[in-house]
């Protein structure tokens, strides 16, 4: 099975974010990490390869720093990587990101394409589904299990409130993967060493320019959300705070 995993580098979960001068994006002098759902997507691809053989290719778009995500993926067991490298990729909407990816992989023949179900920075949950439509492939989202069968694959789709659904699909297909589908592995020292020699193909903005257009939507401004709640911060030593909390529980919340 030849599997492509689309991965994104996002600011670290606890990174303090500051607005840049334009007020329409953040200052990029923060620490970055792999988008967590994408890490689960990679792990799932590696497990499918271990079960059925084949190849796992990882792809990302972003500045030079985004290569870190690919290096880690190669160290974990991916076979090769594709880096759409340019600062400008950061500002593309889901549609143009998907178009750029489709253009970069046009000479490849994948059986499956995985993305995380959504990114921790934008949180749109669109890129995988858009990519499926651009490629003309079937897709399914928020996937918790994948099993190969003669007709293609059977996937387990997560629904709200604890419900699930199995879906039979032909290949090739795009799947967006839900966090918690598996347990993430750590890269081994050998893996990290081997990663250095694995192929990493760079794709420039110029290479995919013909495939993309201006964004169809625009972030006019970013801002710290206006608080609608009047939050009361309770301070003091642990014992003092415990007493203050009980006071609130008794007199305000009235559960004691």
């Amino acid at each position: 099975m030849k599997i492509l995993v689309c991965m994104k580098q996002v600011p670290q979960k606890d990174a303090p974010l500051k607005l840049n001068e334009s007020g329409a994006w953040i200052r990029e002098d923060v620490s970055y990490e792999v988008n967590e759902p994408d890490a689960f997507a990679l792990e799932e691809a590696l497990r499918q390869k271990e079960k059925h053989g084949g190849e796992v290719v990882v792809i990302t778009s972003g500045p030079a720093r985004a290569q870190q995500v690919l290096r880690e993926a190669l160290a974990k067991g991916a076979d090769r990587a594709i880096h759409l490298e340019d600062n400008a990729f950061v500002g593309l909407d889901a549609l143009n990101t998907a178009r750029a990816f489709a253009s970069a992989i046009k000479d490849e023949k994948f059986d499956l394409i995985f993305t995380g179900l959504q990114s921790d920075d934008y949180g749109y949950a669109q890129t995988g589904v858009v990519l499926a439509e651009l490629l003309g492939w079937p897709h399914a989202t928020i996937i918790m299990q994948i099993e190969k069968n003669d007709a293609g694959i059977r996937v387990k789709r997560e629904l709200e409130a604890g419900y699930f659904q199995f879906v039979d699909m032909p290949l090739p297909a795009v799947l967006t993967i839900q966090s918690g589908i598996n347990k993430l592995r750590y890269a081994t020292l050998i893996g990290i060493k081997q990663a250095k020699n694995k192929p990493l193909r760079k794709v420039s903005m110029a290479d995919v320019q013909a495939a993309i257009t201006g964004n169809l939507q625009k972030i006019e401004r970013l801002y710290v959300p206006q608080k609608t709640k009047n939050t009361e911060f309770l301070e003091g030593s642990a014992n003092e705070v415990a007493k203050k909390l009980v006071d609130k529980l008794r007199n305000e919340v009235r559960v004691l």
């Binding site: 606890d14 303090p16 953040i26 549609l95 921790d120 920075d121 949180g123 749109y124 949950a125 669109q126 589904v129 858009v130 439509e133 079937p138 399914a140 989202t141 928020i142 629904l159 709200e160 409130a161 604890g162 419900y163 699930f164 659904q165 879906v167 039979d168 699909m169 966090s179 918690g180 201006g214 964004n215 169809l216 939507q217 625009k218 972030i219 006019e220 401004r221 970013l222 801002y223 710290v224 959300p225 206006q226 709640k229 009047n230 939050t231 009361e232 911060f233 309770l234 642990a238 014992n239 705070v241 415990a242 007493k243 909390l245 009980v246 529980l249 008794r250 305000e252 559960v255 004691l256």
Partner: protein, 331 residues
């Protein structure tokens, strides 16, 4: 002719998804703000009863978009049906709730039509004739006002709980209902969905709990959950958790709160070591009182907490358990 806002409601398993009323409330508010006409549509097979339910609300017209191929739900069928319908009716703005089903087909539909969707919006603004949609970014740490840079139709999905379903206005008279039969060619539908099922035996119904003590990644290890359990017991409440705790198997899936788990609105929600990621917040922001303990002062949970403690839960919870027990003993 004024522009039209089209609210596409959701029906599943023989019922209208309650979140549809929230979308209709948003549609009514936007219609009032813009002067545009509000219409609604329900998509499926044999859905005229749902259309009639919607027609009782204040809306100009309701459509039942019908095809036997729309049952069961598949993204191929829904995308094809709505594309046909939208191309013929040409609404300016298409509103849907940000449900798992909508997420499954709206990006496909928008792309097929050469358009885009602004997803998971929590509000809107009208600024000098321009319509902006507000959404959370970076797991709620920042908000973004987003505009469309393309022609209509504009697709917008709305976050659960962003609008009040109970505030939807009833109509003075039932709106006209029209059935629109759509054609879905053979070979369009590629997925074969099986029966929907529930996995976890629902041992506990968190939606009935008045008091919930919930743990997130800040609990660090499985054995520490016992501390939260003691607090829950002292308060007479139930134990719950954010997704990562349940994914790790530290608590069963029926204890999960969030978009994939339960949505609760208890009298008290005590969040221990929970950062406040959007997928969790949507499951508990309706709680009457929210108390959050987290060592990260920037944690988004503090945006919605009534009482906040920036500190180490392992320092605070043990004395808290003692104080609660004392209070209950009448001290």
């Amino acid at each position: 002719m004024p522009d039209t806002i089209l609210v596409v409601v959701e029906q599943r398993e023989g019922k209208l998804n309650r979140v549809s009323w929230e979308t209709l409330t948003a549609g009514q508010a936007l219609a009032a703000e813009t002067g545009w006409t509000l219409e609604a549509a329900v998509v499926g097979s044999g859905v005229s009863n749902f259309a009639n339910e919607v027609a009782a609300k204040k809306v100009a017209k309701v459509y039942a978009v019908e095809s036997p191929k729309l049952e069961p739900y598949t993204p191929d069928a829904f995308s094809a049906a709505l594309r046909q319908f939208i191309e013929s009716k040409k609404p300016k703005l298409v509103l849907m709730p940000h449900t798992y089903q909508v997420r499954d087909f709206v990006p496909k539909l928008a792309t097929a039509m050469g358009r885009t969707a602004i997803s998971d919006c929590i509000g809107y603004k009208k600024e000098g004739g321009k319509l902006l949609f507000t959404r959370q970014m970076f797991q709620g740490k920042l908000a973004a006002d987003v505009s469309f840079a393309c022609d209509a139709p504009w697709f917008v999905t709305l976050q659960n709980g962003a609008f009040r379903g109970d505030k939807v206005e009833a109509g003075a008279n039932p709106a006209p209902v029209e059935t629109v039969n759509v054609q879905i060619a053979d070979g369009i539908i590629r997925n074969k969905p099986q029966e929907v099922f529930k996995e976890a035996k629902q041992a506990v119904d968190l939606t009935q709990a008045e008091i919930i003590v919930s743990v997130g990644r800040g609990i660090k290890e499985q054995k520490n959950i016992d501390l939260a359990k003691q607090l829950a017991e002292a308060l007479g409440g139930e134990l719950a958790a954010s997704r990562p705790i349940c994914d790790s198997g530290w608590l069963p899936m029926d204890r999960q709160i969030g978009s994939s788990g339960q949505t609760v609105a208890p009298k008290l929600y005590l969040a221990l070591g929970i950062s406040g990621a959007i997928q969790h917040i949507v499951g508990m922001k309706g709680a009457r009182t929210i108390i959050a303990i987290n060592k990260d002062s920037e944690a988004p949970i503090f945006e919605i907490a009534d009482y906040a403690v920036v500190g180490n839960l392992f320092d605070i919870v043990p004395p808290l358990i003692e104080e609660v027990k004392k209070a209950k003993a009448g001290a």
